[in-house]
């Protein structure tokens, strides 16, 4: 009997290092942006120089510290009520991160479950789920969120609920299609032949193959959740009025955009960098997580 040896040295010093290499610059930049955002949110009370709600009408609309007329006590200036813009930006990150993490995860769980079920059962189960997704997607998502938030009432829970209810379709659609593709593969029938049940096949064989896809979607969805939260707070139906949010800051800054442009520009910058951060992070993770390197 001919013995088979590994004909080439398979170099994989560590799956972590290899993964990080595959992820490349995207992974790094994304991870740093996301990490900064999350840290800022977690440590808000420690790093914010002022109470975000503390008003100081004597020093309203101060420009950032480095502009002439700025006050070094207010690094990024103050808004029209004399509240510290930097502190408000920092506290706003808490709402944004909470919404991004919770809403995106819940939407993912619901969407993945329905997608797997629809993709594997086929038949009328698939028909019902697919039509539901179609109908859902025909409705403008932001409008649906606004209606929902208005109906359920303001608050963190209703913002999250509004996003979950709208965005599970994103996951369900993609997971359903990919489940169908994977179930056609030989390894899926091989799994049936070793006696795995449908649930077992989905959980042990199909789901691991969906991980790179789901991770990318999840990161993109977190970015989208931040945007939706911004829109809702911009219209004023997000969390309670006294909690600082980026959307709320834009709405306030909009009225004095000519006199004090930084009040509006700074939260916009925060939003852009966090959404880009999540997208890059997701992209990088997808490359890092995929051992087959389907590029």
């Amino acid at each position: 009997m001919v013995e088979l040896t590994l004909d080439h040295p398979v170099e994989r010093p560590s799956r972590w290092i290899a993964g990080l290499k595959r992820g490349g610059a995207r992974l790094w930049v994304g991870a740093v942006l996301v990490a900064v955002l999350v840290l800022v949110a977690l440590l808000a009370p420690l790093i914010a120089p002022h109470d975000p709600l503390e008003q100081d009408l004597m020093s309203a609309q101060l420009p950032p510290a480095w502009v002439s007329g700025g006050d070094s006590a207010y690094l990024l200036g103050t808004d029209s009520l004399g509240r510290c813009v930097l502190s408000r930006l920092i506290y706003s990150a808490r709402t944004a991160v909470a919404v991004a993490l919770i809403a995106a995860s819940l939407a993912a769980v619901i969407g993945i479950t329905l997608g797997l079920v629809a993709g594997s059962f086929g038949g009328w189960v698939d028909q019902v789920t697919s039509r539901l997704i179609d109908v859902w997607m025909a409705f403008p998502p932001v409008l649906l969120s606004i209606v929902l938030a208005a109906v359920i009432g303001a608050g963190l829970t209703s913002v999250i609920a509004a996003i979950v209810v709208v965005d599970w379709t994103r996951f369900a659609r993609v997971v359903r299609a990919e489940t169908m593709v994977q179930l056609q593969r030989d390894y899926a029938s091989a799994a049936r032949v070793i006696g795995l049940s449908r649930g077992g096949i989905l959980r042990l064989e199909i789901l691991p193959n969906l991980v790179p896809l789901v991770v990318t979607l999840l990161a993109v969805e977190m970015g989208i959740a931040i945007l939706v939260e911004v829109i809702l707070s911009f219209v004023g139906i997000s969390v309670a009025g006294d909690t600082p949010t980026w959307g709320g800051m834009i709405a306030e800054g909009r009225q004095i955009a000519y006199q004090a442009p930084w009040i509006m520009a700074l939260p916009i910058g925060c939003i852009i960098s966090s959404v880009i951060g999540f997208n890059l992070f997701g992209d990088g993770l997808r490359l890092a997580l995929d051992p087959v390197q389907r590029r």
Partner: protein, 295 residues
């Protein structure tokens, strides 16, 4: 000799929208304990369908019209799903056709073997890993511990095929269905695979149903053989008898069409079209008969 597998008068049709295409027209077959039976036939003869029917892997639009499939005296078709799943992979195993796609691409070789072992045998993780290592040694893979750590795309096709053979025999099955396991391999590797299958069969005492279109392979390892055409059994018996004294004209024609090293290539003659045509018209006549017999 008691039969491990007894297929009797099996009819299978595939439904294509409105009309049915018969793929098995009353095929019967027996595999005794420890017997190696070759199942030969040209493309479309229904040999793979027969194997798939035994494994419960028929496509969703295939319907078993009549007939029984008995495994160790128990009816596989009437058996409830969980009970059949308990047999699959443990008592009945498959060596799949394509080694390149039959392993899950995102799971390590080791974890796939361990999952199979633990699914059917109550083994601890450590014991299962130990057993997986032994199995790889048995199929003559050097450095089994390292191979277990690798992903399928990191090992060669020949090695993947050996891993799949090891998995088929992992739980000491009494029947292994080999679905053209040598077709995707080149001739030099084919020989090794046949030797390996024969060695594992002897060691684990399994019966084998060897599905192939290669008469050379049948002559080498099968003691008995069945010739299938258009979903019907044309001839069966001891391999030596069938190959030296074929009774059916189709078998004779097949033998004449098989290239052999001891004959000049000019001596090859294709299976006469008239013979094929007469066999198909016979099959169609049977179809009409059964269609009339049905209410």
């Amino acid at each position: 000799m008691t039969a491990v597998l007894a297929v009797r008068d099996l009819h299978v049709a595939i439904y294509d929208r409105s009309h049915a295409i018969n793929v098995l027209r009353g095929a019967s077959l027996e595999v005794g304990t420890g017997e190696v039976r070759g199942l030969v036939g040209e493309s479309g003869a229904g040999k793979s369908m027969l194997g798939r029917a035994v494994l419960g892997l028929l496509p969703a639009n295939a319907v078993i019209g009549s007939g029984t499939v008995q495994f160790e005296g128990r009816d596989l078709i009437a058996m409830p799903e969980p009970e059949r799943r308990n047999l699959l992979g443990r008592r009945i195993a498959l060596i799949p056709q394509d080694p390149m796609t039959s392993l899950n691409p995102v799971k390590r070789v080791g974890s796939q073997i361990v999952a199979l072992l633990r699914h059917h045998l109550a083994l601890s993780k450590g014991d299962a890993l130990e057993r997986a290592t032994e199995l790889l040694v048995e199929v003559a893979i050097r450095e089994p511990r390292r191979v277990l750590e690798l992903y399928p795309h990191e090992i060669s096709g020949g090695m993947r095929q050996r891993v799949l053979i090891a998995m088929a025999f992992a739980c000491d099955p009494s029947l292994v269905i080999a679905d053209e396991p040598t077709t995707a391999l080149d001739v030099t590797v084919q020989r090794q695979v046949l030797q390996l299958v024969e060695r594992l069969r002897q060691r684990h005492g399994a019966a084998i149903l060897f599905v192939t279109h290669n008469l050379g392979v049948v002559a080498k390892i099968c003691r008995t053989m069945t010739v299938l055409h258009a979903g019907r059994v044309l001839e069966e018996g001891e391999t030596a008898d069938v190959l030296t004294r074929p009774r059916h004209p189709y078998t004779r024609a097949l033998l004449a069409a098989t290239p052999r090293a001891d004959r000049p290539a000019e001596a090859l003659c294709p299976v006469p079209p008239a013979l094929i045509e007469s066999l198909w018209s016979e099959a169609r006549r049977l179809d009409r008969q059964s269609a009339m017999a049905a209410p």
